[in-house]
Symmetry: C2
C-alpha cells in the first residue's frame, strides 16, 4: 500500500506528522505500507513554481491513496489565479478523477457542549454529506471575465451530464444502504435546469435501491433545515457548489471542525484523505493544531481504499478514548479538561492504539 | 399611494388579510392609500392559466408598491416549469427590476428561546442580508437540458456585469452606513471568475464609502460563520444564488421565520414586500398562520417606498408589544404564553397601534 503524503501549508506538516506516526506504528504492527512525501499548494509554488507540479502528479498517480494536510495561506493571496494553492487542490481532484467527496458531520458526545446549537438539537448528530467533486460550476466552460459593450462581465457555467449525476447518486445510495437507509438529494430545480436534470437522474437511479428512502429538498430549505433540525438527515447528496456550502455549514453544527475527516474517491476506491479544516497559518509551527481530523482521515483511508475496516475502527476508538480521557487541543478545550498540544494528543492516540 | 395586494396561495390570503386591516386602519387615521387586489402564483394559474398574467403585470406596473403573501403549493408541483407559481415570482422581480432584496434576520428578545442556537450566540441578533435579485445564475443564458453525445446534459450560466454589481453594492454600503457601518461581501472568488469580478467591483465601490468597513468572505466560510458566530455580521451583500441560501440559513438562526419580513426594491424605491416564509398549505384556511412577518413587511413598505419612517416604527412597536403581552401563534408558541390564531394576533396588533 503506497501512500503519498502531501503535508501542504500552515499547520499541514504538524498534523500529517502525527498521522504518519500512527501509520508507522501500524506498519511495525505488520501492516504493509510505504509513505512517500510530496508537495502540493503554497509549498509547491515556493519550491517548484506551481501548486501541483509534475513530480507530484506522477507521485499521486502511482500511489494507492493520498494523505493531505491543508493548503493555502495569506502569503499566497497575491498570486495570479492559476498559481494559487487551492488550484493545486482542484487540479489533483480532476487529475485523479476523485468525484465522490464523503464528508461526515459527527458530534462526539464528549464534545457536545462546544457546539453553538442547543444540546438536544445536535446530540448524537451523524450526517454524511456526499458531494460531487469533479463537475458543476467548478469546472464548467465557458468561464472568465471579459469586456462586453464597454463593461466587464464575469461568467461561469454550471453543468452536469447524466453520467456524472448517476455515478455520484450510486455512491450516495450505497452509503445510505449501509447507514440508516435515508437519502436526501439537494438541488434548486425550481430555478436551475441543471439541477432539474440532477433531480430527474437521482430519481431514476433510486429504482435500483428500493431499500433506500429517497427525498428531495431545495438548497435554500436545506440550509435552513440543517439549522432547524439537523438530525432529520442521514445521507445528503448534492452537487459540487451546493455541497461546498452545505458541508461546511453541517460541519460547523458540531462546533468542532478540528475533529472532522473527509475522503475524496475515484471509482476504484483510490482516494485522497484530508481534514476538512484549513491550514490555520496563525497557529502554524506552534504545536497547537488539532491533528485528530487528520488521524481520523487515515481511518477513512484504511476503510475505503484498503478495506481494513477493523484497523479503521481501532483508530476511531483510540480517538474516542483520548477524548474520554479529557485530552483537548485548544480548539476544543473546555474548563476542567487537559489542554495539550499537537504532539501530546498524538502521543495519547498512539498510547490508546 | 397605490398598493397592489397579491395574496397568493396557501396561507397568503389570511396573512395579507391581517396586513390589509392595518393599512385600512392607517387610512382612517389619515394616510392616503389605495389597495388593489391581484393574482400571482398558483391562484393565477387556476384563474388565468399562468402564474403572472398580463392583468397582474399591468396592476403592479402602475402600483407604487406591492404586498405579496406567498405563492406555491403541492397542487402545482406537477405543472410544467413555466407554469409553476415560483415563475410568477421570478417574472415579477424581473419585470419591475427589483434588484435589491433586503432581508433582515432579527431575533426578538421575547423569542430568544425558540432559536435552536444557544441564547448567548443569538441574543440581540440583527443582521441585514442584501441579496442581488435580478441577475446571476437565476436569469443567465444559455440554460437548459439537452442531449449531447447520447446523454442528457443540464446547464445554467452564472453571470454578472460590472454595472449590476456596483448597483447592489451601493445599496449595501448605504444600508451599512445607516447601521453599524460594517459590510461583509460574500463570494467564491477562489473558484469562480464571476465572483472574482464581484469582489473586484465591490472593492472599487468601497472607495466612495470610506466610513464603512468592508470585508470579504468565501461563501463556504460564510455558511460556517453564520452558525459559529452570527453576531460578527452587520450587513452582508451577495449575489442572487448565494443570497438565496445564506439568507434562509440566517433567518433560521432566529428560530422564528414567521416573524421576518423582506423588501425587494428597484432604483426608484418602488418595492415588493413579502414575508420570507412560504405558503404553508398544510395550515391554510385554519386561522393558524402567523401574520406578523406580513405586517412587518408593511412597515418596510412604509419606510422604503413611502418614506413614512414614523408610521413604520409605530407598526414595529405594536408588534413588539404584542409579543411582550404574551400573544403567540403556534409557530412561536411556548408554554406559559397565550396561544392565539391569525385573526386574534391581528386584533392585538391593531389594538396596540
Ligand atoms: C479551497 C477550495 C477550492 C475548496 C472547494 O471549494 O472545493 C474547499 O473549500 C473545499 O471544500 O475543499
Ligand atoms: C421560490 C424561489 C424561486 C425563490 C428564490 O429562489 O429566489 C425563493 O426561494 C426566495 O428566496 O424568494
Amino acid at each position: 500500500m503506497k501512500i503519498a503524503v502531501l503535508a501542504g501549508d500552515g499547520i499541514g506538516p504538524e498534523i500529517t506528522g502525527q498521522a504518519e506516526r500512527i501509520l508507522l506504528a501500524l506498519r511495525s504492527d505488520g501492516l504493509k505500507l510505504e509513505l512517500e512525501p510530496g508537495l502540493l499548494g503554497g509549498c509547491a509554488v515556493d519550491a517548484a513554481g506551481e501548486p501541483f507540479p509534475e513530480i507530484t502528479r506522477r507521485l499521486v498517480k502511482e500511489a494507492d491513496a493520498v494523505l493531505l494536510g491543508a493548503v493555502g495561506g495569506p502569503k499566497y493571496d497575491g498570486l495570479p489565479r492559476e498559481k494559487r494553492p487551492e488550484q493545486g487542490l482542484l487540479a489533483i481532484r480532476k487529475e485523479l478523477n476523485l468525484f465522490a467527496n464523503l464528508r461526515p458531520a459527527i458530534l462526539y458526545p464528549e464534545l457536545a457542549s462546544v457546539s453553538t446549537l442547543k444540546p438536544e438539537i445536535v446530540s448524537d448528530l451523524d450526517i454524511l454529506i456526499v458531494r460531487e467533486l469533479t463537475g458543476d460550476i467548478y469546472f464548467g466552460q465557458p468561464r472568465g471575465i471579459e469586456r462586453r459593450e464597454g463593461q466587464r462581465v464575469g461568467f461561469n457555467t454550471m453543468i452536469y451530464t447524466e453520467g456524472e449525476i448517476s455515478r455520484i447518486a450510486h455512491v450516495a445510495f450505497q452509503a445510505a444502504r449501509k447507514r440508516k437507509g435515508r437519502l436526501c438529494s439537494v438541488d434548486k430545480m425550481n430555478v436551475l435546469e441543471c439541477t432539474q436534470l440532477w433531480r430527474d437522474v437521482v430519481t431514476e437511479t433510486a429504482k435500483e435501491y428500493p431499500d433506500v428512502k429517497l427525498s428531495h429538498m431545495l438548497v435554500d430549505n436545506a440550509a435552513m433545515q440543517l439549522v432547524r433540525d439537523p438530525k432529520q438527515f442521514d445521507v445528503i447528496v448534492t452537487g459540487n457548489m451546493f455541497g461546498d456550502i452545505l458541508s461546511d455549514e453541517a460541519s460547523m453544527l458540531t462546533g468542532s471542525i478540528g475533529m472532522l475527516p473527509s475522503a475524496s474517491l475515484d471509482d476504484q476506491n483510490k482516494g485522497l484523505y484530508e481534514p476538512i479544516h484549513g491550514s490555520a497559518p496563525d497557529i502554524a509551527g506552534k504545536d497547537m493544531a488539532n491533528p485528530l481530523a487528520t488521524i481520523l482521515s487515515i481511518a477513512m483511508m484504511l476503510r475505503y481504499s484498503f478495506a481494513q475496516e477493523e484497523i479503521a475502527l481501532r483508530i476511531e476508538h483510540a480517538v474516542r478514548k483520548v477524548l474520554a480521557q479529557g485530552f483537548r487541543t485548544s480548539d476544543i478545550y473546555e474548563p476542567g479538561m487537559k489542554k495539550v498540544g499537537t504532539r501530546e494528543i498524538g502521543d495519547a492516540v498512539l498510547a490508546n492504539l
